[in-house]
Amino acid sequence: MTKLQALIFGAIITIIFLTLIIITADLYSPLKDFLKNTFYHHWIGKGILGIIVFLISSLIFNLIPSSQDIDNQKISNKLLSLFFTTILSFLVLTLFYFYEAFIKK
């Protein structure tokens, strides 16, 4: 896989990972406590883990053997996938916090 494709895939995985860890840490307090105890603050923990996930997943995708020629269409599709993943993750987080703040008793 080309470097750029691997990085875009890495970013997609990171956005999904961040969304999952944000929601899980809010619903499951031992995870939030773990993040606090390990990284001083849960927000710092999420940020650092996000960076680690991005680096590792990009490296793994970069090792997948394929043609090193840059295919414009493939890159364009992957950029759009990242765009849709971000929009969807944003909507999920918005609905989650809306539920937590206004609906949940």
């Binding site: 999420k46 840059i70 269409q73 364009s76 599709n77 950029l79 944003f90 987080l93 809306f98």
Partner: protein
């Protein structure tokens, strides 16, 4: 609030606005008939750097001051939703931005001439840059709402 915290809070806000302005410019540039590669690379790098610095300065203020000194005031007031909904959403969406900004920056560097030739590629990158701009703008407005809820 100590002078250091005032500096970090102000830097966080100004750097965030500068980053949003850079991605506004990147989006506009990508939609032009003749994309200016030099300006694209410079502005996407500027935007990435400004977001990272805004992340660090805002993070310092949030971790070392907001939780103990601002959050309780908001939660006890009439506008507790400003923390429970707006701040919770803002602090977490903010985590996405540096990764997205990095992709726009690295794609601008690695694709270069391909961006000039291929309209689909330019449009896809423009959509991503537009997302950064709109999320940045939303975060800025959320910041205004949160600040408004602080009244001693």
């Amino acid at each position: 609030m100590s002078p250091l915290l005032v500096f970090f809070l102000s830097s966080h806000i100004f750097l965030g606005i500068i980053a949003i302005a850079f991605f506004f410019s990147v989006t506009m540039n990508l939609l032009k008939r003749e994309v200016n590669l030099f300006s694209l690379k410079r502005n996407s790098f500027g935007g990435l750097l400004a977001f990272i610095l805004s992340w660090l300065t805002g993070g310092y203020y949030y971790v070392f001051y907001y939780g103990d000194s601002v959050k309780p005031i908001i939660k006890q007031g009439l506008y507790s939703w400003a923390h429970n909904f707006i701040m919770e959403l803002k602090e977490h969406i903010f985590l996405y931005l540096p990764f997205l900004a990095f992709i726009v920056f690295i794609a601008s560097y690695l694709m270069q001439d391909k961006l000039k030739e291929n309209e689909n590629l330019r449009k896809s990158l423009a959509m991503l840059s537009l997302t950064i701009f709109i999320l940045g703008l939303l975060i800025a407005f959320m910041g205004i709402i949160i600040s408004g809820a602080v009244k001693k």
